[in-house]
Amino acid sequence: MITGTGITKTYKQRGDVLGSREVRALRGVDFAVPRGGAVSFIGESGCGKTTLGRIIAGLETHDSGEIVIDGTPMTPLSPRRRRPYFRRIQLIHQDPYSALNPTRTIHQTLRAPLELRARQTGRPGSWIDQRAGELLSLVGIDPGYVLGRYPHQLSGGMRQRVVIARALTVDPEMLVADESVSMIDVSMRLSILALLKDLRERLGVSLLFITHDIATARYIGDAGELYVLYRGQVVERGLTESVIHEPVHPYTQALLSAIPVLHGLERPGRERVVPTEALDERHADEGCLFARRCPFRTERCEKELPVLAGCQDSSHEHACFHPQRRAVIPVEAVA
């Protein structure tokens, strides 16, 4: 179980004409990923998804808040004592092309972390190559074909499988997949997603799935929770199906309204929420963070910040003063 409470992160940007500028990437995010569970984060570009993923994977520090891994809070630990905890959380990169060292064969790429693993667990050297083969088979590629090859000799889908195999060398407890299929060809995307799903079921690895593609989040995390992130705040959260089919927050509704309709297979939802303007990081921090763009804002929204709270008529939480269900998602066309 991995939990976070009140995670904040502010980046200071230098070199702006106006001197330094602050970007509040995360403003007090709470989350929980149960062992073997699947949790997805969705939101527009720049809303903080990658930052959160990197913090959870121990690749970035946060300013305040606490991350607790299997009951152990990370803050009191020295960076050296934290390392073994974070090693069990592996990040899978968006870009399978740059994630692998182009000068190393797949065998070399897998061997290095496996050697370390063998030392840690007191296994013999012969275990290393055997395990490399097992892991490649596990991610659905033929070890005989890829082991001797370099990354540029493999397709994008194969490379992403190698990246996943490398993440598995440390027997991770959780995989953080950040836009892990957006650069992979459409016909091969689903097989990578199915692989991640399958690893969760077979190995009990939990999955933190970061994406801007809500249908993908639904496919991967149907049994888990979905978090909607906006300007560093979680604005809606709950069981994936519930958030997608009964969204109450106007921002979630705007995201869902923006999804292209597969005319012929689907019909558009009855309603559509269109933000009144484009996302601008310079928008005021006062009141609701979505207020400037929200078609439903009232005076109260401009002064007070709504906090994430339960909802009377649905199973999920939202941060909005005027929550209301709206039928925004495309529905299946009847044949």
């Binding site: 016909s187 496919y219 923006a258 597969l262 012929g264 297979l265 495309p330 529905v331």
Partner: protein
């Protein structure tokens, strides 16, 4: 202002098409049709010249907005470049023709007539348009260069039209025209590219991945605008994308490419609702969906071909096809058109698709 509406907003808002059409003049010609015949485009590789387009046939009816979908490497951009006769070395158009109403066979055009045709008759946004802007000049200067090179008399009207288009895409036109490329975000540059494609009032507009780098909400806005302008100006629009959803949202016709061939072409709703080609069927089944049973989605086995791995003869899809027959290995299936749907597949030719949704066993 409507913020909650049922479906896309149909109102043109503050846009005045009277003023906006200064460049085209009062009697705009009808939108052009396009007929691509047996188009072969080859690229020189260490293995010799290999075909990226292996004899493409495609008829685009005037006034339609046609999507061209297909995976990376299927030949979409090569086809778009061919429509402008702009395939660059190491590539070349080896044979075939591209007839565009009002222009003739663009494969035979060159020099000044070709240069004038681009921009005036053919508006285009190349893939990664955001990188093709001149980094040293403001957008406004590049707009004026474009106008001058096409002999636009009223440059003030051109600037007005440009600002208007940018405004509709949610940008501050005056600020954007005063900016250099590096001062704009990727999404803003992409919108600048779309503006430059439309501003000379070309009647045939070719957009190569116009929303790929955009955020989803911005993408929805741009798609709506593309559709609105297409309708208002009476264009023929070709939209190239690898995203089936994007194509489905804006287009009325859809052409599906695989391995340098158009394998299926028809009305968008029909191609999606009852795909006939096994590749189209597999592709649609592989799309994760928002509604319905998620376990219905299933992966398409295998991987897309590259120039070097295309089958030497027979059907381009044979290696991944679940209904392959003996003949598929040796004979390339010819495109067959029935009821406005064109399909290149031996299996479909034997048993034409029924109406309604069809499940493949």
């Amino acid at each position: 202002m409507t913020t909650l509406s049922h479906g896309p907003s149909g109102s043109p808002g503050s846009h005045s098409s009277e003023e906006g059409d200064l460049v085209a003049g009062p009697a705009a010609p009808p939108p052009p049709g396009v007929r691509v015949r047996d188009l072969v485009v080859v690229y020189k590789t260490p293995l010799g010249e290999l075909p990226a387009l292996g004899g493409v046939g495609l008829t685009v009816d005037p006034g339609t907005i046609t999507g061209i979908v297909g995976e990376s490497g299927s030949g979409k951009s090569t086809l778009a470049l061919s429509l402008l006769n702009a395939v660059q070395p190491p590539g070349r158009i080896a044979s075939g023709s591209v007839e565009i109403d009002g222009l003739g066979d663009v494969v035979r055009l060159d020099g000044d007539p070709l240069r004038r045709a681009r921009g005036r008759h053919l508006g285009y946004v190349f893939q990664a348009a955001q990188n093709s802007l001149n980094p040293l000049k403001t957008i406004g200067k590049q707009l004026l260069d474009l106008g001058r090179s096409h002999g636009v008399a009223d440059l003030a009207a051109l600037v007005r039209d440009a600002k208007d288009l940018l405004g509709r895409m949610g940008l501050d036109g005056a600020r954007v025209l005063d900016s250099h490329q590096h001062e704009l975000s990727g999404g803003m540059r992409q919108r600048v590219g779309i503006m430059l494609a439309l501003v000379l009032n070309a009647r045939l507009v070719i957009l190569d991945e116009p929303t790929t780098a955009l955020d989803m909400i911005t993408q929805a806005t741009i798609l709506r605008i593309i559709r609105e302008i297409h309708k208002e100006r009476g264009l023929t629009t070709l939209m190239i994308t690898h995203d089936m959803g994007v194509a489905a949202e804006v287009t009325d016709h859809l052409a599906v490419m695989y391995g340098g061939q158009v394998v299926e072409h028809g009305r968008t709703t029909e191609v999606l609702g009852s795909p006939a080609h096994p590749y189209t069927q597999g592709l649609i089944r592989a799309i994760p969906r928002l509604s319905g049973d998620i376990t219905k989605a299933s992966a398409l086995p295998g991987r897309p071909p590259t120039l070097g791995t295309l089958p030497k003869q027979g059907c381009v899809f044979q290696e991944r096809c679940p209904v392959r027959m003996d003949v598929c290995a040796t004979v390339a299936p010819p495109p067959v058109t029935t009821h406005g749907r064109t399909v290149a597949c031996h299996a479909t030719a034997a048993a034409p698709p029924l109406d309604g949704r069809k499940e493949q066993p």
